[in-house]
């Protein structure tokens, strides 16, 4: 335990004396200002019109045009739907490549012959629409605070390689477990503080702190462990930085599903940040969803990341020294 603590303190001292740590602090301030002052509370929905030519449909949202050419041109320019009435009375639906079912859904709503009464039942009446700027907080927590260990871990590991500290570690009584736990523990604590400050200044204090801290700690641990395993294969900062940027860009893809929650394909759900971003939304805005699936997902990723990292760091960094 004292070995792990000593390694952690040593890493912390090195971080504090480095410009990168202060850059991260400045980023935190910038994010808080951005969420509270720059991002709008509401984003207006884009006006969506149906264009028609020679059809008998005149709904509120339909705009009539004077020629087929104009219809085609406007559909092309606006990426919208155009209804073209043919001479034989049939309709051609001009669309920018929407799926067959989506086109059919639009036509069905436009040409409905009768209405069936449908009751709406809201499962959680207390749930309210979250302001857009506040809803972005989980995005910044997931893609800035949680990945801090990935970046700091990589930087420290590469500098240890450069300074020759790794060689010294190979002959010192430091096992791979101590090495991983000390670094992961330190970065996870930093990530918890980072994400907590972000949440505190953007959302307030009205959220379950323990669930939040646990999610931040283990979420950051996953990225720290993946980061350490990933960085093991690099020798210089340049290759590492841009490869990392590419990997983290892929990790950011779930933001598409977060922005458009109706779009959640399976391939997006397997990315680790998918579960976490929605779990933060759940915790910070009291959505009332069960956290049990997230616990299993995060635990699974933690164990997997630890085993992979243990193998890679033990085999290729501390044993061989790349």
């Amino acid at each position: 335990m004292s070995g792990i603590l000593a390694l952690g303190i040593q890493d912390f001292k090195r971080l504090m004396t480095n410009a990168l740590f202060w850059v991260i602090t400045a980023t935190l301030v910038l994010i808080i200002v951005l969420i509270n002052l720059a991002l709008p509370k509401n984003i207006s929905e884009e006006d969506y019109h149906i264009l028609i030519y020679q059809t008998d449909h005149y709904a509120d949202q339909a705009i009539s045009v004077s020629s087929e050419e104009e219809l085609r041109q406007k559909v092309k320019e606006n990426g919208t739907i155009g209804l073209l009435g043919n001479d034989d009375g049939s309709i051609t639906v001009l669309n920018p490549g929407l799926s067959e079912k989506t086109v059919h859904a639009i036509i069905t709503m436009l040409y409905r012959s009768s209405n069936i009464d449908i009751n709406i039942e809201r499962l959680n009446e207390s749930n309210k629409t979250i302001p857009f700027n506040k809803r972005m907080t989980p995005v910044f927590i997931c893609f800035e605070a949680l990945i801090i260990g990935f970046i700091l871990g990589g930087v420290l590991l590469l500098s240890e390689k450069e300074e020759g500290t790794i060689r010294a570690m190979r002959i010192a009584p430091i096992g791979v477990d101590k090495y991983l736990i000390s670094k992961t523990g330190l970065f996870s604590i930093i990530a918890v503080l980072y994400s907590f400050l972000m949440a505190l200044f953007c959302i307030g204090f009205n959220f379950p702190v323990l669930s939040f801290a646990l999610l931040s700690f283990f979420g950051a641990a996953i990225f720290s462990l993946i980061g350490l395993a990933f960085t093991t294969f690099f020798k210089d900062m340049s290759s590492w930085f841009f490869s990392m940027a590419l990997l983290l860009s892929i990790n950011m893809l779930p933001v598409v599903a977060y922005s458009e929650p109706s779009f959640s394909p399976l391939w997006l759900r397997v990315i680790p940040s998918y579960s976490m971003i929605f779990a933060y939304e759940n915790i910070l805005f009291g959505m009332g969803r069960s956290l049990i699936p997230v616990v299993f997902t995060v635990a699974g990723w933690c164990i997997g990341a630890y085993l992979v990292s243990r193998f890679v760091v033990g085999r290729y960094l501390l044993a061989e020294g790349r």
């Binding site: 449908i118 499962l123 841009f242 590419l246 779009f263």
Partner: protein, 329 residues
């Protein structure tokens, strides 16, 4: 001239020593491929509804014609599914009445739009029509994503050389250069030429992946006109980072600056847009937007050169002061 060529060759060897830089140069093209896949997935995605077994088969068939249906066993499972992280409405039948279950925190209008859809689908007989796809202008999200990819390709070119310069600074090579017969101009040219080469490879790969071979000459011109922007990136990184760790910190500031400033102009009111005219990053974005939408980008190219040069000079002054390199000798 000979010293410039020798320096370029040396840089080239150093950067490509581990082989991964070749891959990194074309990595924005890989990202472009992923983005294109996502945009086409979003475009082709269907509306999703969850239904339980209480709904008669004929009604389910009607809903299946307008949405992807997920089947669950009972009302409890339906509630659990609707409460999931994604936005999906559930349809069930209680006492002969069809009900729509929503979580309550979805986007504004979500429940009403799904109610309209389910109501129309269940109450409408089949409608005859034909469809025709009209290839439209790219959406704003697509244009922004692709602009980001091209800017990243240009950025990687500059920053790779910047990081190599930081390495030189850390190991003292830059000090040796400053006392050698090599002038500041030769040193800058040797760095910038190689970064342009990377930029050209990067944007060419992106243009090919996007299927815009027709616009390849314009993208190459974009890379060439960004000569001073690449210079700014290189010498900002070397100037402000004394070692490799600090370089990552500098990159963390410089990277969003060069990628986001231009793109942020899209979200700014037109009356404030003039504030962006002084930044080459804005003209880079404007040029990419113009090329993607098949318009004439000559003015934007010229503005990249002019504004880029105006910013490049102060960056070089700061650089010479930071690394104590004389501009003239």
């Amino acid at each position: 001239m000979k010293s410039i060529i020798m320096t370029i060759v040396r840089e080239f060897k150093l950067i490509f020593r581990d082989g991964i830089t070749i891959y990194l140069t074309i990595s924005p093209a890989v990202l472009a491929l992923i983005f294109i896949f996502i945009f086409s997935s979003v475009q082709e995605s269907d509306i999703a509804l969850a239904v339980d077994k209480s709904l008669p088969q004929d009604l389910v068939a009607k809903l299946e014609s307008v949405a992807d249906i997920e089947f669950v066993d009972n009302l409890e499972s339906l509630k659990e599914r609707v409460s999931g992280a994604d936005s999906i409405a559930g349809v069930t039948m209680q006492d002969g009445t069809v009900s729509l279950l929503v979580e309550g925190n979805e986007a504004q209008g979500f429940a009403e739009s799904r109610q309209n859809l389910v109501s129309a689908a269940l109450g409408t007989e089949s409608i005859q029509y034909t469809t025709e796809t009209v290839e439209g202008q790219n959406s704003l999200a697509y244009t922004i994503s692709m602009a980001c990819i091209f800017l990243l390709a240009l950025f990687i070119g500059g920053s790779s050389l910047g990081l190599s310069g930081v390495n030189e600074r850390e190991s003292g090579v830059i000090h040796a250069v400053s006392v050698s017969p090599m002038t500041l101009g030769s040193y800058a040219v040797s760095k910038i030429i190689l970064s342009l080469l990377f930029g050209i490879i990067g944007v060419s790969a992106c243009a090919l992946i996007m299927g815009r071979v027709d616009a390849l000459p314009q993208f190459l011109l974009l890379a060439l006109c960004s000569v001073f922007v690449s210079g700014m990136i290189i010498f900002l990184i070397i100037g402000f980072a004394g070692n490799q760790i600090a370089a990552v910190g500098v990159l963390k500031i410089v990277m969003p600056l060069f990628l986001v400033v231009g793109i942020s102009s899209v979200f700014i009111s037109e009356k404030w847009l003039f504030l962006y005219y002084a930044f080459p990053m804005y003209w880079q974005y404007a040029a990419i937007d113009t090329v993607i939408s098949s318009r004439e980008p000559t003015f934007q190219f010229l503005m990249i050169l002019v504004t880029g040069f105006a910013w490049f000079i102060p960056v070089m002054i700061v650089f010479t002061k930071k690394v104590k390199m004389k501009a003239w000798r």
